[in-house]
């Protein structure tokens, strides 16, 4: 089941990679959706800024080494229209984030969904109709 689902996600991901980006910069020129991954960690900083809101997360690997990831969201105007508020993410929050990492190897990624400490899953990408909150 999981293998089939993984394959479906992989195929859809590849198809989606061919779709146009409409941000102020070209998504596919910056992020690699085929290497998408789940990051778990603690929020260290939030920047509610243009052209993208950003939050930074300390992620610990199996050896205990901590890496600070720079995670990109949409712009505050779009996020507000999707129902986000600037205090949804706060330093100290434990989060799980499904991300597409930077192509150039920087510890930087585009956040697709953010699962908050209280279990709410914030969809940064698709769920406009649900106000961005599942």
């Amino acid at each position: 089941m999981r293998t089939k689902l993984g394959l479906l996600v992989a195929v859809v991901g590849l198809l989606a990679a061919a779709c146009p980006a409409l941000a102020h910069h070209a998504f596919v020129a910056q992020y690699d959706a085929s290497r998408s991954m789940m990051l778990q960690g603690v929020v260290t900083k939030v920047e509610w800024t243009n052209p993208h809101a950003r939050f930074y997360v300390d992620v610990k690997d199996k050896s205990g080494n901590v890496t600070n990831w720079n995670l990109e969201l949409a712009s505050p105007n779009a996020l507000r229209r999707l129902g986000w508020t600037r205090d949804i993410l706060k330093p100290g929050d434990k989060v799980s984030v499904f991300v597409a990492p930077a192509k150039d190897g920087a510890k930087m990624a585009n956040a697709r969904t953010v699962t908050l400490a209280d279990g709410r899953k914030m969809v940064a990408g698709i769920a406009a109709e649900q106000g961005g909150v599942q």
Binding site: M1, V12, A29, S36, M38, A74, T113, A128
Partner: protein, 273 residues
């Protein structure tokens, strides 16, 4: 257009796949997942406007002098963003001169002026709304993205000044032809790109836009590009914007925290030419 529809379907599938995966993979958190979801990151602003579109369309509103009133907050037209050839009539191609074909193929996303928070110029749009304020002698466009700027269109019978300095939005003079606002613009620089691909132009650029409001909920426009420096003939693009409700123009100063350009590689999308 066909590709846009296909991408909408792909995006919906992406969400469904992600939700299905996340429902079965609680134990796998922290492990790399096999693939991505909805990488059309810029699609987020477009989706944020979906529920704001006016659902009812009444008659064209008019000003006291009987002209159509174009005032309102309007949603962007996606065909005027990534590749303007999507806004041509079906089957038509951009009449690029050979050097312009070469430039379109070679330009890289990191060099897109818009990615560095410079103005988008005309006719390129951004995935954010714009607001039209109409007065009898001056029509103003307030543009939320890409750098929170404006256009002035003088409808006072005046002509273009002589000896214009080239700039990003040129000099716009409007006249009413029946219910159509015709906007004539010259005085452009050659610095902005027509779209994400990088379709070029020169300072010879002359743009004529024709705006209509066929009902209360829609703004329709034709944009004719005449640039003998880059194109072999004039060509016309077609766009339509939905009226947005329950929102306002919001701030978007792109240069505030623009960390992207240093990490942009290659080309966002290939040129068709």
């Amino acid at each position: 257009m066909r590709r846009d529809i296909a991408c909408s379907i792909v995006n919906a599938l992406s969400l469904a796949a992600l939700l299905a995966l996340s429902a079965t993979s609680a134990s796998a958190q922290g492990q790399p997942e096999p693939a991505g979801v909805n990488p059309a990151g810029g699609g987020v602003p477009m989706r944020s406007l979906e529920r704001l579109k006016s659902k009812a369309a009444g008659p064209t509103p008019r000003t006291a002098d009987g002209k159509p009133d174009l005032s309102g907050i309007w949603g962007p037209e996606p065909n005027f963003m990534g590749d303007i050839s999507n806004a041509l009539k079906p089957g038509e191609k951009l009449p690029l001169q050979p050097w312009a074909v070469k430039v379109s193929r070679e330009r890289l996303s990191k060099d897109d002026p818009e990615a560095s928070c410079l103005p988008a110029g005309i006719p390129r749009q951004t995935p954010f709304p714009f607001k039209i304020i109409q007065t009898p002698k001056l029509i103003v466009f307030l543009i939320e993205g890409n750098m929170h700027t404006y256009r002035q269109i003088f409808v006072d019978g005046s002509s273009h000044p002589k000896d214009l300095d080239p700039n990003w939005f040129g000099d716009s003079r409007g006249t009413w032809q029946g219910d159509t606002l015709v906007v004539d613009t010259i005085g452009f620089n050659d610095k902005f790109w027509f779209d994400g691909i990088g379709h070029p132009h020169t300072e010879k650029l002359h743009i004529v836009e024709r705006y209509r409001r066929p009902d209360s909920a829609h703004l329709e426009y034709e944009v004719t590009i005449d640039d003998p420096g880059a194109y072999t003939r004039p060509f016309t693009m077609y766009g339509r914007s939905p009226l947005l409700q329950n929102t306002e123009i919001m701030e978007y100063f792109c240069s505030e925290n623009n960390q992207d350009v240093a990490h942009v590689l290659g080309k966002g999308r290939p040129a068709k030419e």
